[in-house]
């Protein structure tokens, strides 16, 4: 390919981005754009899969049959989100199998929020309200992201996440109408999750090296601090309606980086769980492959 042809392709890509149109899998794209997308979509997919664990921890102890059904359906949705996102990632030329191995080896990250433990049933509600709420703030703008398969997956995911957030809030609201012990359980859970939820928006803009390039490429639409401020503003009236007090907004970024680097309370446990499920299932996947290849 000539340098002139390369320049034409790059100009076409830039024009598509500038017009706010979608890049599709067969379109030419800069290698940096492709790599950034693989990193971001994989990280998002891994977050869905690892995110099944903290809430999944309570499925077998859900205190009513209705709550058990809601929680199981919710965690099942997260597996579904993981599937859409791994599929979107596969359009960029990587396989789900490779991505899973990179998750297990620690080569690719997932959201740090899932490295905190879930210690009471109220955490199921708090995760829906605050964690899914923060995720929605991050993700809704991604419905308009420049890469077509990612944007379309995100439209579906955001609809379901919005539903999840409501179920979380509804659980907390119901518990607040229950006993004193239940109200205390809700407050204690909010106390633990508020600051970690705020950290989900990522480091302050000054310390977020990838933000500018991602915004220029139309992958990211708002800065971390913009989204965080918006989330704080939206959460205040919801907390008041619920009757809980939100802790302050001063964040310990040393803690954030410690957890990102693997030093959180549940990092090792989450990866070990995923690795065990993956290893335990290897013989099943091998059998399915062998059967698919066998003559009928």
């Amino acid at each position: 390919m000539t340098a002139a042809a390369d320049e034409d392709l790059a100009a076409g890509f830039d024009a598509t981005i500038a017009a706010g149109d979608r890049i599709e899998p067969r379109d030419w794209m800069p290698e940096g754009y492709r790599k950034t997308l693989v990193r971001q979509i994989a990280q998002h997919a891994h977050s869905e899969i690892i995110g099944m664990q903290p809430e999944g921890n309570w499925i077998t102890r859900a205190p009513s049959l209705r709550r058990k059904a809601i929680l199981l359906a919710k965690v099942q949705d997260e597996a579904g989100h993981g599937l859409y996102l791994y599929s979107a990632c596969e359009t960029l030329g990587v396989s789900r199998r490779d991505l899973m191995e990179q998750l297990i080896s620690g080569a690719q990250k997932y959201s740090s929020i899932f490295n905190y433990p879930t210690l009471s049933y109220a955490d199921v509600g708090t995760i829906g309200w605050l964690v899914d709420g923060a995720a929605i703030c991050n993700q809704v703008p991604l419905c308009r992201t420049s890469y077509g398969p990612y944007g379309r997956a995100m439209i579906r995911i955001c609809k379901e996440e919005s539903f999840h957030q409501r179920q979380g809030y509804e659980l907390l609201a119901t518990m607040m109408r229950g006993t004193d012990e239940q109200r205390a359980m809700v407050q204690e859970s909010v106390d633990r999750f508020w600051k970690p939820a705020l950290m989900m928006f990522g480091p302050p803009d000054a310390d977020s090296p990838n933000t500018q390039q991602s915004m220029d490429w139309g992958i990211k639409r708002h800065t971390n601090d913009e989204l965080r401020a918006r989330f704080i503003e939206m959460s205040a009236p919801q907390a008041a309606a619920l009757g809980v007090t939100l802790p302050g907004n001063d964040l310990d970024w040393d803690e954030f980086w410690r957890i990102v680097k693997g030093g959180g309370p549940c990092n090792a446990q989450r990866i070990a769980h995923r690795k065990k499920a993956h290893d335990d299932g290897a013989w099943v996947r091998e059998a399915a492959t062998a059967y698919a290849r066998s003559p009928r």
């Binding site: 205190p63 049959l65 809601i70 099942q76």
Partner: protein, 277 residues
């Protein structure tokens, strides 16, 4: 796409009617159904029968939900949760039916407790009060054993539910009519995996034989069923698997596993007998 999409998050403070799952108090699984006892039906026997069918579904739903986040691949994780959700739905309807037919089956709770009858039955009975068969309470084992259990159980349950179309109680008939479609899928899912594992690798075939031998002796606990036996024989033939040489397990009580399972399942509910969830 317009910016309204960004405000999905702001819709939280709407009134309760907007909640997708409805207010808990309005969430009677049998809402809108005629729950009077038909002439000629003994209410005590009906309640007892609904507890048997409901407990089977509840306990197996619980076992299958233990797979969530642990299955061999995402597709199987989703499928096993789906089956668990269907069975949980059957359990809720049947336990509620048992309570409406004979309220005396519902364990007493402290005055003012908002716990609905389905949850009183699920979370406040002890192991010896559960009417489920041993087949559903055994631990999951590996994926092969789980597939064998779902195959055997769903095949038997489907044959039974097809006959329940003629049951005198309208609620039981309705539960069965809904359940037939679900169970046909469960049986199909398990049968496909049964054949896949049988014809996959040496290891999968070995594990399948072991899993089948584990559950095979428990399949007659609600009586032998010729329709179900014929279907199972067909699946085994398609897979090239001989029926295990295992006689019916003689038992008149639960296994050791149920009490441990219930300890986990009931722990939060029992800690808050006046709690609202």
């Amino acid at each position: 796409m317009n910016d309204d999409h960004d405000s999905a998050y702001a819709g939280l403070l709407v009134d309760d009617a907007h909640w997708a799952f409805g207010e808990a108090a309005h969430d009677d699984p049998l809402a809108g159904m005629d729950t009077s006892i038909p002439a000629g039906v003994d209410a005590t026997e009906l309640a007892s029968y609904c507890l048997e069918l409901g407990d089977d579904a509840l306990v197996l739903a619980h076992r299958l939900s233990e797979w969530c986040g642990r299955a061999p691949d995402l597709e199987e994780d989703i499928a096993l949760s789906n089956i668990a959700l269907d069975l949980l739905g059957q359990a809720r309807l049947l336990l509620t039916r048992a309570a409406t037919a004979d309220p005396s089956v519902v364990p007493p709770l402290p005055d003012g407790s908002p716990v609905p009858p389905e949850d009183a039955l699920a979370f406040f009975r002890d192991d010896h009060q559960f009417r489920n068969t041993n087949l559903v309470e055994l631990p999951n084992g590996d994926f092969a054993e789980t597939i064998c259990r779902v195959l055997v159980w769903a095949t038997y349950r489907l044959a039974l539910f097809e006959r329940l179309a003629a049951h005198p109680d309208g609620v039981v008939r309705a539960v069965a009519a809904k359940g037939v479609k679900e169970l046909a899928y469960h049986r199909d899912f398990a049968a496909q995996w049964f054949v896949t594992l049988a014809r996959g690798t040496e290891e999968s075939r070995r594990r399948l034989h072991t899993g089948l031998a584990q559950v095979w002796g428990y399949r007659h606990q609600r009586g032998e069923d010729a329709v179900a036996e014929a279907v199972l024989a067909e699946v085994l033939a398609a897979a090239g698997v001989a029926a295990p040489d295992v006689g019916p397990v003689a038992t008149s009580s639960h296994t050791e596993h149920l009490s441990r399972m219930l300890a986990e399942m009931q722990v939060v509910a029992r800690a808050h007998p006046r709690g609202r969830w």
